[in-house]
């Protein structure tokens, strides 16, 4: 990554530019791998890119950044993802 010297609003790509957005969550997606049929609908619809797609098309959830919107649970055709309330802090 080349950095520029000139002073203007130049911003550089960074994962977590707004911090660990997983802390925004109220509900948490829980994946049941046994139910998953690897259709990847959760992966393509996730607005955050926090459904991690593996080589074999199985998926994992990146809880560090998942904001807990619940879209994945809603689009899952086999209900392999359910939303659970985060533990009280």
């Amino acid at each position: 990554m080349k950095k520029y010297d000139v002073v203007t609003t130049i911003s550089y790509p960074k994962k977590g530019a707004m911090g660990k957005t997983g802390s925004w969550r109220v509900f948490k997606p829980i994946l049941d791998k046994d139910k998953c049929i690897k259709c990847l609908r959760c992966w393509i619809f996730c607005p955050e890119g926090t459904i991690i797609r593996k080589k074999d098309d199985s998926v994992e959830i990146d809880y560090e950044y998942c904001k807990g919107c619940g879209v994945c649970a809603n689009v899952c055709p086999v209900k392999a993802i359910v939303m659970e309330r985060e533990a009280e802090i």
Partner: protein
């Protein structure tokens, strides 16, 4: 080197062609129109190497220049009056983005009513946009300043856009002989643009996203530093030009018969040229008066003005009015002197909306001051007075 005789606008088009911008984006407006026509002719004749975007508004002209410049291109545009005002938002954008766009502005009065004649209020109203501003007094100076503007804007320590202004019709549509260097000489002088940042798929950055209060002031401060650097660079660039090509119009200021002057007239643009005739006449009469024609409004040549005030009292002529205050140059000259000089500063507003100001008028204004008849800030020759 050859000499051509042409109008200020066609000379602008010639300079733009020889500066070899990659992208020109422009929209026609009187009295700038013959510039875009001139460039269109070069395009049609295969004598223009860049892309010419005929946009649908001046706002888009400046936006397209910003897009092109951000992608690494050298850019040119030209406008006037209402076109410049429509661009206003994007003028700020270009400067804050540190893009070395060069633009010609043909000074014209602002409506209503529709006035197409010379008046500095259009460009003076862009004072705070971060653009460097030059004012020219001859077609040779127009050519030289446009070329020099690229060298200055693209200097790695400047990286700010430059506006080159001159009076509508008085210069834009008047033919004068102009010395034109060879293309290779221009190429050698301007150098190639080296973008200091750009939209680059191999090095992706985001330009212009949200910036918090703690970071914003340093962006502004860097622009101020760049303008101050330009104050040092302008005399170097004009001097280098003089050595290479022989023409010279002053650096920040052009001084004319200022030695031993008790009064120095400060004027801008074509009024500056007219003032030289007035100074000659007054000198004939034995009056100790000289002329300092300000070539640069931004960065404001504060130190140069302080030096003038060490020698003489100052008379400032403004073809603009900051309504509710006074002429912009009058204000700025006084601000430059505050705390550094006891010189008296007299001011006149003259020539708004293209109202003719002859050397006789200028002589009369100077004599009124020199004869102790000046009664306070004055609008010269208002209709009905």
């Amino acid at each position: 080197m050859r000499v051509i005789i042409d109008t200020g606008n066609y000379i602008s088009a010639k300079a733009a062609q020889m500066a070899k911008p990659d992208v020109v984006a422009a929209y026609p407006i009187t009295p700038q129109t013959t510039i875009v026509e001139g460039i269109a002719k070069y395009v049609e004749d295969g004598e223009f190497s860049g892309e010419y975007i005929c946009v649908e508004s001046e706002h888009s002209a400046m936006s397209a220049c910003i897009g092109a410049s951000a992608a690494g291109a050298r850019t040119f545009t030209a406008t006037s009056a209402h076109g410049l005002l429509l661009m206003h938002e994007m003028l700020h954008w270009a400067a804050l983005a540190r893009l070395p766009i060069v633009m010609v502005n043909v000074n014209r009065a602002i409506g209503p009513g529709w006035s197409i004649w010379a008046d500095e209020n259009d460009s003076v109203a862009q004072r705070d946009t971060g653009w460097l501003q030059f004012y020219c007094s001859s077609n040779q100076e127009i050519f030289d300043t446009i070329i020099q503007a690229y060298r200055l804007a693209e200097h790695k320590d400047v990286q700010l856009p430059v506006m080159v202004s001159y009076d509508g019709f008085i210069l834009s549509h008047t033919s004068m002989p102009v010395q034109i260097p060879e293309q290779n000489e221009i190429d050698d002088f301007i150098l190639k643009r080296v973008p200091q940042w750009k939209l680059d798929v191999d090095n992706p950055v985001t330009h212009g996203n949200i910036i918090m209060p703690k970071d914003y002031p340093s962006i502004r401060r860097a622009m101020q530093d760049a303008q101050e650097k330009a104050l040092e660079l302008i005399p170097e660039i004009t001097e280098e030009w003089r050595k290479r090509f022989g023409t010279y119009h002053g650096d920040l200021v052009e001084c004319y018969r200022c030695d031993d002057a008790e009064f120095i007239l400060i004027a801008v643009g074509a009024l500056g040229a007219e003032s030289k005739v007035a100074i000659d006449e007054l000198r004939e009469k034995g009056r100790r008066v000289g002329l300092a024609r300000l070539r640069v409004f931004r960065p404001f040549p504060k130190q140069a003005v302080v030096e003038l005030a060490k020698k003489a009292d100052l008379i400032v002529l403004d073809r603009n009015i900051s309504v509710g205050m006074e002429g912009a140059f009058f204000s700025e000259v006084k601000a430059a002197l505050y705390g550094s000089s006891d010189a008296k500063v007299y001011g006149y507003i003259a020539g708004l909306g293209g109202k003719d100001v002859t050397y006789k008028d200028i002589e009369a204004m100077c004599e009124k001051v020199m004869d102790g008849k000046y009664k306070g800030y004055e609008w010269y020759d208002l209709e009905g007075e």
